[in-house]
Symmetry: C2
Subunit: 231 residues, 2 copies
Protein backbone atom coordinates (compact mmCIF):
# COMPACT_ATOMS: atom_id res chain seq x y z
CA UNK A 1 0.00 0.00 0.00
CA UNK A 2 1.17 3.48 -0.74
CA UNK A 3 -0.01 6.16 1.69
CA UNK A 4 -3.41 4.62 2.08
CA UNK A 5 -4.39 6.75 5.02
CA UNK A 6 -2.07 9.55 4.03
CA UNK A 7 -2.47 13.29 3.96
CA UNK A 8 -5.40 13.94 1.62
CA UNK A 9 -7.69 11.21 2.98
CA UNK A 10 -11.14 10.67 1.41
CA UNK A 11 -10.55 7.89 -1.08
CA UNK A 12 -12.80 4.94 -1.59
CA UNK A 13 -10.86 3.04 0.98
CA UNK A 14 -10.67 5.17 4.02
CA UNK A 15 -7.49 3.71 5.43
CA UNK A 16 -8.42 3.46 9.06
CA UNK A 17 -12.15 3.82 9.31
CA UNK A 18 -12.43 2.11 12.64
CA UNK A 19 -10.14 4.61 14.27
CA UNK A 20 -11.89 7.49 12.52
CA UNK A 21 -15.28 6.31 13.77
CA UNK A 22 -14.10 6.05 17.36
CA UNK A 23 -12.52 9.47 17.11
CA UNK A 24 -15.71 10.99 15.69
CA UNK A 25 -17.62 9.18 18.39
CA UNK A 26 -15.52 10.90 21.03
CA UNK A 27 -16.29 14.28 19.52
CA UNK A 28 -20.01 13.55 19.48
CA UNK A 29 -20.02 12.07 22.97
CA UNK A 30 -18.15 15.08 24.22
CA UNK A 31 -20.95 17.34 23.04
CA UNK A 32 -23.94 15.15 23.65
CA UNK A 33 -23.08 12.23 25.89
CA UNK A 34 -23.55 8.56 25.03
CA UNK A 35 -27.01 9.14 23.54
CA UNK A 36 -25.39 11.19 20.79
CA UNK A 37 -23.54 8.10 19.60
CA UNK A 38 -26.00 7.08 16.93
CA UNK A 39 -24.54 4.78 14.35
CA UNK A 40 -25.83 6.98 11.57
CA UNK A 41 -24.65 10.12 13.27
CA UNK A 42 -21.13 8.83 13.78
CA UNK A 43 -20.76 7.57 10.23
CA UNK A 44 -22.22 10.85 8.96
CA UNK A 45 -19.57 12.74 10.90
CA UNK A 46 -16.87 10.73 9.17
CA UNK A 47 -18.52 11.16 5.77
CA UNK A 48 -19.20 7.53 5.17
CA UNK A 49 -22.21 5.32 4.62
CA UNK A 50 -23.97 4.06 7.78
CA UNK A 51 -23.35 0.42 7.07
CA UNK A 52 -19.67 0.96 6.43
CA UNK A 53 -19.46 0.84 10.20
CA UNK A 54 -20.47 -2.81 10.10
CA UNK A 55 -17.08 -3.67 8.60
CA UNK A 56 -15.53 -2.67 11.93
CA UNK A 57 -18.19 -3.13 14.59
CA UNK A 58 -20.74 -5.88 14.95
CA UNK A 59 -23.41 -3.36 15.90
CA UNK A 60 -24.00 0.00 17.48
CA UNK A 61 -23.33 -1.29 20.98
CA UNK A 62 -19.82 -2.32 19.97
CA UNK A 63 -19.10 1.16 18.68
CA UNK A 64 -20.40 2.75 21.84
CA UNK A 65 -18.26 0.42 23.91
CA UNK A 66 -15.14 1.32 21.93
CA UNK A 67 -15.82 5.00 22.53
CA UNK A 68 -16.42 4.32 26.20
CA UNK A 69 -13.06 2.62 26.57
CA UNK A 70 -11.35 5.53 24.87
CA UNK A 71 -13.13 7.98 27.15
CA UNK A 72 -11.94 6.00 30.15
CA UNK A 73 -8.39 6.39 28.91
CA UNK A 74 -8.87 10.13 28.70
CA UNK A 75 -10.13 10.19 32.26
CA UNK A 76 -7.13 8.17 33.39
CA UNK A 77 -4.79 10.51 31.52
CA UNK A 78 -6.30 13.52 33.26
CA UNK A 79 -5.86 11.78 36.58
CA UNK A 80 -2.20 11.05 35.90
CA UNK A 81 -1.51 14.67 35.02
CA UNK A 82 -3.01 15.91 38.27
CA UNK A 83 -1.31 13.28 40.35
CA UNK A 84 2.05 14.21 38.94
CA UNK A 85 1.41 17.88 39.58
CA UNK A 86 0.62 17.06 43.18
CA UNK A 87 3.53 14.69 43.71
CA UNK A 88 6.33 17.19 44.37
CA UNK A 89 6.26 16.60 48.11
CA UNK A 90 9.45 14.92 49.43
CA UNK A 91 7.96 13.19 52.48
CA UNK A 92 6.67 9.80 51.20
CA UNK A 93 3.49 9.41 53.22
CA UNK A 94 2.36 12.94 52.59
CA UNK A 95 3.33 12.63 48.95
CA UNK A 96 1.24 9.47 48.55
CA UNK A 97 -1.62 11.19 50.34
CA UNK A 98 -1.46 14.21 48.05
CA UNK A 99 -1.38 11.98 44.99
CA UNK A 100 -4.47 10.10 46.13
CA UNK A 101 -6.20 13.36 46.85
CA UNK A 102 -5.27 14.71 43.42
CA UNK A 103 -6.62 11.56 41.83
CA UNK A 104 -9.99 12.13 43.45
CA UNK A 105 -10.11 15.78 42.53
CA UNK A 106 -9.15 14.91 38.97
CA UNK A 107 -12.02 12.44 38.76
CA UNK A 108 -14.58 15.03 39.77
CA UNK A 109 -12.82 17.69 37.72
CA UNK A 110 -13.00 15.56 34.61
CA UNK A 111 -16.69 14.92 35.16
CA UNK A 112 -17.32 18.67 35.34
CA UNK A 113 -15.02 19.64 32.49
CA UNK A 114 -16.13 16.84 30.16
CA UNK A 115 -19.59 15.75 31.21
CA UNK A 116 -20.31 14.11 27.88
CA UNK A 117 -17.16 12.04 27.89
CA UNK A 118 -17.55 11.22 31.54
CA UNK A 119 -21.01 9.83 30.97
CA UNK A 120 -19.95 8.04 27.83
CA UNK A 121 -17.13 6.41 29.75
CA UNK A 122 -19.69 5.03 32.11
CA UNK A 123 -22.16 3.37 29.78
CA UNK A 124 -22.73 0.22 31.64
CA UNK A 125 -20.49 -2.76 30.96
CA UNK A 126 -23.21 -4.92 29.40
CA UNK A 127 -26.18 -2.59 28.96
CA UNK A 128 -28.69 -2.33 31.74
CA UNK A 129 -32.21 -3.41 32.49
CA UNK A 130 -33.13 -4.73 29.05
CA UNK A 131 -31.44 -7.63 27.34
CA UNK A 132 -28.17 -8.11 29.12
CA UNK A 133 -25.45 -9.77 27.04
CA UNK A 134 -22.41 -11.04 29.02
CA UNK A 135 -20.09 -8.16 29.59
CA UNK A 136 -17.17 -7.35 27.41
CA UNK A 137 -14.03 -6.34 29.31
CA UNK A 138 -12.91 -7.68 32.65
CA UNK A 139 -14.86 -5.93 35.40
CA UNK A 140 -12.16 -3.75 36.82
CA UNK A 141 -9.51 -3.52 34.14
CA UNK A 142 -10.39 0.12 33.49
CA UNK A 143 -7.36 2.41 33.64
CA UNK A 144 -8.91 4.77 36.21
CA UNK A 145 -9.51 1.86 38.54
CA UNK A 146 -5.93 0.69 38.20
CA UNK A 147 -4.67 4.13 39.10
CA UNK A 148 -6.83 4.22 42.20
CA UNK A 149 -5.68 0.79 43.35
CA UNK A 150 -2.06 1.75 42.84
CA UNK A 151 -2.48 5.05 44.66
CA UNK A 152 -3.95 3.26 47.67
CA UNK A 153 -1.23 0.60 47.64
CA UNK A 154 1.35 3.36 47.51
CA UNK A 155 -0.27 5.07 50.47
CA UNK A 156 -0.02 1.84 52.45
CA UNK A 157 3.60 1.34 51.40
CA UNK A 158 4.42 4.91 52.43
CA UNK A 159 2.87 4.36 55.84
CA UNK A 160 -0.06 6.69 55.29
CA UNK A 161 -2.72 3.98 55.49
CA UNK A 162 -2.69 1.04 57.93
CA UNK A 163 -2.53 -2.23 55.94
CA UNK A 164 -5.54 -3.59 57.81
CA UNK A 165 -7.57 -0.66 56.46
CA UNK A 166 -6.56 -1.29 52.86
CA UNK A 167 -9.20 -3.87 51.89
CA UNK A 168 -12.03 -2.44 49.77
CA UNK A 169 -10.75 1.09 50.31
CA UNK A 170 -10.96 1.65 46.56
CA UNK A 171 -14.70 1.16 46.63
CA UNK A 172 -15.22 3.67 49.39
CA UNK A 173 -13.08 6.20 47.53
CA UNK A 174 -14.53 5.52 44.12
CA UNK A 175 -18.07 5.64 45.47
CA UNK A 176 -17.47 9.06 46.99
CA UNK A 177 -16.01 10.76 43.93
CA UNK A 178 -18.32 9.01 41.52
CA UNK A 179 -21.36 9.81 43.56
CA UNK A 180 -20.41 13.45 43.88
CA UNK A 181 -19.82 13.62 40.13
CA UNK A 182 -23.25 12.23 39.42
CA UNK A 183 -24.92 14.53 41.94
CA UNK A 184 -23.16 17.44 40.26
CA UNK A 185 -23.96 16.39 36.72
CA UNK A 186 -27.44 14.92 36.92
CA UNK A 187 -28.49 15.38 40.50
CA UNK A 188 -29.54 18.07 42.93
CA UNK A 189 -26.17 19.82 42.74
CA UNK A 190 -26.32 20.42 39.02
CA UNK A 191 -26.78 24.16 39.40
CA UNK A 192 -23.75 24.64 41.61
CA UNK A 193 -21.36 27.43 40.72
CA UNK A 194 -17.65 26.81 40.24
CA UNK A 195 -16.66 27.85 43.75
CA UNK A 196 -19.16 25.47 45.30
CA UNK A 197 -18.01 22.65 43.06
CA UNK A 198 -14.42 23.24 44.05
CA UNK A 199 -15.26 23.37 47.72
CA UNK A 200 -17.42 20.26 47.66
CA UNK A 201 -14.88 18.29 45.66
CA UNK A 202 -12.16 19.04 48.19
CA UNK A 203 -14.45 18.35 51.10
CA UNK A 204 -15.83 15.07 49.80
CA UNK A 205 -12.43 13.74 48.78
CA UNK A 206 -10.97 14.60 52.17
CA UNK A 207 -13.84 12.96 54.01
CA UNK A 208 -13.49 9.83 51.87
CA UNK A 209 -9.79 9.52 52.63
CA UNK A 210 -10.38 10.26 56.31
CA UNK A 211 -13.01 7.56 56.33
CA UNK A 212 -10.71 4.80 55.12
CA UNK A 213 -7.66 5.97 57.04
CA UNK A 214 -9.49 6.38 60.36
CA UNK A 215 -11.75 3.38 59.78
CA UNK A 216 -13.73 2.49 62.87
CA UNK A 217 -12.21 5.26 64.94
CA UNK A 218 -15.01 7.81 64.82
CA UNK A 219 -18.49 7.67 66.30
CA UNK A 220 -20.22 5.13 68.54
CA UNK A 221 -19.17 1.50 68.48
CA UNK A 222 -20.32 -0.54 65.53
CA UNK A 223 -23.24 -2.92 65.89
CA UNK A 224 -22.13 -6.47 66.50
CA UNK A 225 -24.59 -7.93 64.03
CA UNK A 226 -24.27 -6.69 60.44
CA UNK A 227 -27.26 -4.94 58.90
CA UNK A 228 -28.99 -6.19 55.82
CA UNK A 229 -28.19 -4.33 52.62
CA UNK A 230 -31.09 -5.31 50.40
CA UNK A 231 -34.79 -4.92 51.07
Amino acid sequence: MEATMATEGRRYHHGNLREALVEAGLVLARAGGPDALGLREVTRAVGVTPNAAYRHFTDRAALVLAVALRAQERLAAAMVVRMDEAGREPEPARRAYLRLRALGLAYVGFAMAEPGLFQAAFVRQGESLDGGEPNPPSPSAAPPYQLLVTALDDLVAAGGLPPQHRADAEWACWSAVHGLSDLLLRGPLHLSDAATVEHLAGYVVDRAIDGVVAAGAGGPAKPSTPERATS
Copy 2:
Protein backbone atom coordinates in the same frame (compact mmCIF):
# COMPACT_ATOMS: atom_id res chain seq x y z
CA MET B 1 -70.73 13.40 39.55
CA GLU B 2 -71.79 9.89 40.44
CA ALA B 3 -68.99 7.34 40.82
CA THR B 4 -66.93 8.80 38.00
CA MET B 5 -63.78 6.86 38.78
CA ALA B 6 -65.72 4.09 40.48
CA THR B 7 -65.40 0.34 40.36
CA GLU B 8 -65.93 -0.60 36.72
CA GLY B 9 -63.68 2.11 35.22
CA ARG B 10 -63.31 2.33 31.45
CA ARG B 11 -65.84 4.94 30.45
CA TYR B 12 -65.23 7.73 28.07
CA HIS B 13 -64.11 9.93 30.90
CA HIS B 14 -61.49 8.09 32.81
CA GLY B 15 -61.99 9.80 36.13
CA ASN B 16 -58.40 10.34 37.17
CA LEU B 17 -56.26 9.82 34.13
CA ARG B 18 -53.35 11.81 35.42
CA GLU B 19 -52.99 9.59 38.43
CA ALA B 20 -53.44 6.47 36.31
CA LEU B 21 -50.70 7.60 33.92
CA VAL B 22 -48.24 8.23 36.73
CA GLU B 23 -49.08 4.88 38.26
CA ALA B 24 -48.59 3.09 34.95
CA GLY B 25 -45.38 5.03 34.52
CA LEU B 26 -44.10 3.68 37.81
CA VAL B 27 -44.84 0.13 36.70
CA LEU B 28 -43.02 0.65 33.42
CA ALA B 29 -40.09 2.44 35.03
CA ARG B 30 -39.82 -0.33 37.54
CA ALA B 31 -39.28 -2.84 34.77
CA GLY B 32 -37.34 -0.75 32.29
CA GLY B 33 -36.02 2.39 33.90
CA PRO B 34 -36.70 5.92 32.71
CA ASP B 35 -36.18 5.04 29.04
CA ALA B 36 -39.26 2.83 29.24
CA LEU B 37 -41.38 5.90 29.94
CA GLY B 38 -42.47 6.55 26.39
CA LEU B 39 -45.53 8.69 26.14
CA ARG B 40 -47.15 6.20 23.81
CA GLU B 41 -46.16 3.28 25.96
CA VAL B 42 -47.58 4.77 29.13
CA THR B 43 -50.88 5.73 27.53
CA ARG B 44 -51.04 2.30 25.94
CA ALA B 45 -50.66 0.72 29.36
CA VAL B 46 -53.62 2.70 30.61
CA GLY B 47 -55.65 1.89 27.53
CA VAL B 48 -56.00 5.41 26.30
CA THR B 49 -55.04 7.41 23.23
CA PRO B 50 -51.51 8.85 23.23
CA ASN B 51 -52.61 12.44 23.09
CA ALA B 52 -55.02 12.04 25.95
CA ALA B 53 -51.89 12.50 28.03
CA TYR B 54 -51.66 16.07 26.78
CA ARG B 55 -54.71 16.96 28.86
CA HIS B 56 -52.60 16.35 31.97
CA PHE B 57 -48.98 16.89 30.99
CA THR B 58 -47.50 19.52 28.72
CA ASP B 59 -45.21 16.97 27.14
CA ARG B 60 -43.39 13.73 27.75
CA ALA B 61 -40.79 15.37 29.97
CA ALA B 62 -43.49 16.49 32.38
CA LEU B 63 -44.80 12.95 32.65
CA VAL B 64 -41.34 11.58 33.28
CA LEU B 65 -40.78 14.19 35.95
CA ALA B 66 -44.02 13.29 37.71
CA VAL B 67 -42.98 9.65 37.77
CA ALA B 68 -39.54 10.63 39.04
CA LEU B 69 -41.03 12.52 41.96
CA ARG B 70 -43.22 9.58 42.83
CA ALA B 71 -40.22 7.25 42.68
CA GLN B 72 -38.36 9.56 45.04
CA GLU B 73 -41.22 9.25 47.49
CA ARG B 74 -40.95 5.50 47.33
CA LEU B 75 -37.26 5.69 48.05
CA ALA B 76 -37.91 7.95 51.01
CA ALA B 77 -40.58 5.59 52.30
CA ALA B 78 -38.15 2.67 52.16
CA MET B 79 -35.61 4.73 54.05
CA VAL B 80 -38.10 5.59 56.78
CA VAL B 81 -39.01 1.95 57.27
CA ARG B 82 -35.40 0.94 57.72
CA MET B 83 -34.60 3.83 60.00
CA ASP B 84 -37.47 2.97 62.27
CA GLU B 85 -36.42 -0.67 62.36
CA ALA B 86 -32.96 0.43 63.45
CA GLY B 87 -34.10 2.99 66.00
CA ARG B 88 -34.82 0.71 68.94
CA GLU B 89 -31.59 1.64 70.71
CA PRO B 90 -32.18 3.61 73.95
CA GLU B 91 -28.87 5.52 74.07
CA PRO B 92 -29.51 8.70 71.99
CA ALA B 93 -26.16 9.10 70.22
CA ARG B 94 -25.95 5.49 69.27
CA ARG B 95 -29.58 5.51 68.25
CA ALA B 96 -29.02 8.49 65.96
CA TYR B 97 -25.96 6.80 64.56
CA LEU B 98 -27.85 3.59 63.82
CA ARG B 99 -30.64 5.52 62.16
CA LEU B 100 -28.20 7.33 59.89
CA ARG B 101 -26.53 4.08 59.06
CA ALA B 102 -29.88 2.47 58.26
CA LEU B 103 -30.72 5.39 56.02
CA GLY B 104 -27.58 4.80 53.97
CA LEU B 105 -28.13 1.07 53.75
CA ALA B 106 -31.72 1.65 52.71
CA TYR B 107 -30.57 3.94 49.90
CA VAL B 108 -28.27 1.31 48.45
CA GLY B 109 -30.79 -1.41 49.18
CA PHE B 110 -33.49 0.40 47.26
CA ALA B 111 -31.17 0.89 44.31
CA MET B 112 -30.52 -2.85 44.21
CA ALA B 113 -34.08 -3.95 44.84
CA GLU B 114 -35.66 -1.45 42.45
CA PRO B 115 -33.04 -0.44 39.90
CA GLY B 116 -35.62 0.85 37.45
CA LEU B 117 -37.33 3.07 39.97
CA PHE B 118 -34.02 4.20 41.40
CA GLN B 119 -32.82 5.34 38.02
CA ALA B 120 -36.17 6.89 37.17
CA ALA B 121 -36.04 8.84 40.42
CA PHE B 122 -32.77 10.28 39.28
CA VAL B 123 -33.60 11.60 35.83
CA ARG B 124 -31.89 14.89 35.99
CA GLN B 125 -33.82 17.89 37.26
CA GLY B 126 -33.86 19.74 33.91
CA GLU B 127 -32.64 17.21 31.38
CA SER B 128 -28.95 17.07 30.64
CA LEU B 129 -26.55 18.06 27.91
CA ASP B 130 -29.09 19.02 25.27
CA GLY B 131 -31.63 21.79 25.61
CA GLY B 132 -31.76 22.59 29.27
CA GLU B 133 -35.00 24.22 30.41
CA PRO B 134 -34.92 25.82 33.89
CA ASN B 135 -35.47 23.12 36.45
CA PRO B 136 -38.78 22.30 37.96
CA PRO B 137 -38.66 21.63 41.70
CA SER B 138 -36.41 23.33 44.20
CA PRO B 139 -32.97 21.74 44.06
CA SER B 140 -33.01 19.83 47.29
CA ALA B 141 -36.65 19.51 48.26
CA ALA B 142 -36.57 15.79 47.52
CA PRO B 143 -37.87 13.70 50.40
CA PRO B 144 -34.75 11.49 50.59
CA TYR B 145 -32.60 14.58 50.97
CA GLN B 146 -34.77 15.91 53.76
CA LEU B 147 -34.46 12.63 55.62
CA LEU B 148 -30.69 12.71 55.33
CA VAL B 149 -30.46 16.28 56.58
CA THR B 150 -32.68 15.48 59.51
CA ALA B 151 -30.73 12.35 60.39
CA LEU B 152 -27.48 14.32 60.47
CA ASP B 153 -29.04 17.10 62.53
CA ASP B 154 -30.32 14.50 64.96
CA LEU B 155 -26.87 12.98 65.22
CA VAL B 156 -25.46 16.39 66.12
CA ALA B 157 -28.23 16.97 68.66
CA ALA B 158 -27.55 13.58 70.22
CA GLY B 159 -23.88 14.37 70.56
CA GLY B 160 -22.73 11.82 67.96
CA LEU B 161 -21.36 14.39 65.53
CA PRO B 162 -19.43 17.54 66.50
CA PRO B 163 -21.39 20.60 65.33
CA GLN B 164 -18.32 21.97 63.56
CA HIS B 165 -18.31 18.84 61.41
CA ARG B 166 -21.94 19.17 60.40
CA ALA B 167 -21.58 21.51 57.41
CA ASP B 168 -21.88 19.74 54.05
CA ALA B 169 -21.89 16.36 55.75
CA GLU B 170 -24.99 15.44 53.74
CA TRP B 171 -23.06 15.73 50.51
CA ALA B 172 -20.29 13.46 51.68
CA CYS B 173 -22.82 10.88 52.83
CA TRP B 174 -25.05 11.17 49.80
CA SER B 175 -22.09 10.99 47.43
CA ALA B 176 -20.91 7.77 49.04
CA VAL B 177 -24.19 5.87 48.91
CA HIS B 178 -25.19 7.27 45.56
CA GLY B 179 -21.82 6.50 44.03
CA LEU B 180 -21.87 2.96 45.35
CA SER B 181 -25.37 2.49 44.00
CA ASP B 182 -24.30 3.62 40.55
CA LEU B 183 -21.16 1.46 40.60
CA LEU B 184 -23.35 -1.48 41.55
CA LEU B 185 -26.05 -0.81 38.97
CA ARG B 186 -24.20 0.49 35.94
CA GLY B 187 -20.55 0.30 36.87
CA PRO B 188 -17.78 -2.20 37.47
CA LEU B 189 -19.57 -3.78 40.42
CA HIS B 190 -22.67 -4.71 38.48
CA LEU B 191 -21.91 -8.43 38.62
CA SER B 192 -21.51 -8.56 42.38
CA ASP B 193 -23.34 -11.27 44.24
CA ALA B 194 -25.68 -10.51 47.13
CA ALA B 195 -23.11 -11.16 49.84
CA THR B 196 -20.64 -8.79 48.25
CA VAL B 197 -23.29 -6.14 47.85
CA GLU B 198 -24.23 -6.43 51.48
CA HIS B 199 -20.65 -6.28 52.63
CA LEU B 200 -19.77 -3.31 50.45
CA ALA B 201 -22.88 -1.39 51.45
CA GLY B 202 -22.04 -1.75 55.13
CA TYR B 203 -18.40 -0.92 54.56
CA VAL B 204 -19.00 2.15 52.41
CA VAL B 205 -21.68 3.55 54.71
CA ASP B 206 -19.47 3.08 57.74
CA ARG B 207 -16.51 4.75 56.05
CA ALA B 208 -18.69 7.67 54.98
CA ILE B 209 -19.94 8.25 58.52
CA ASP B 210 -16.43 7.81 59.93
CA GLY B 211 -15.23 10.37 57.42
CA VAL B 212 -17.57 13.11 58.54
CA VAL B 213 -17.41 12.28 62.24
CA ALA B 214 -13.63 12.10 62.37
CA ALA B 215 -13.12 14.90 59.84
CA GLY B 216 -9.49 15.98 59.61
CA ALA B 217 -8.34 13.48 62.22
CA GLY B 218 -6.90 10.80 59.98
CA GLY B 219 -3.87 10.88 57.70
CA PRO B 220 -1.19 13.51 57.11
CA ALA B 221 -1.96 17.18 57.65
CA LYS B 222 -4.02 18.86 54.94
CA PRO B 223 -2.37 21.10 52.40
CA SER B 224 -2.65 24.74 53.36
CA THR B 225 -3.59 25.86 49.85
CA PRO B 226 -6.72 24.28 48.42
CA GLU B 227 -6.43 22.30 45.22
CA ARG B 228 -8.30 23.16 42.09
CA ALA B 229 -11.34 21.05 41.36
CA THR B 230 -11.83 21.68 37.63
CA SER B 231 -9.33 21.21 34.85
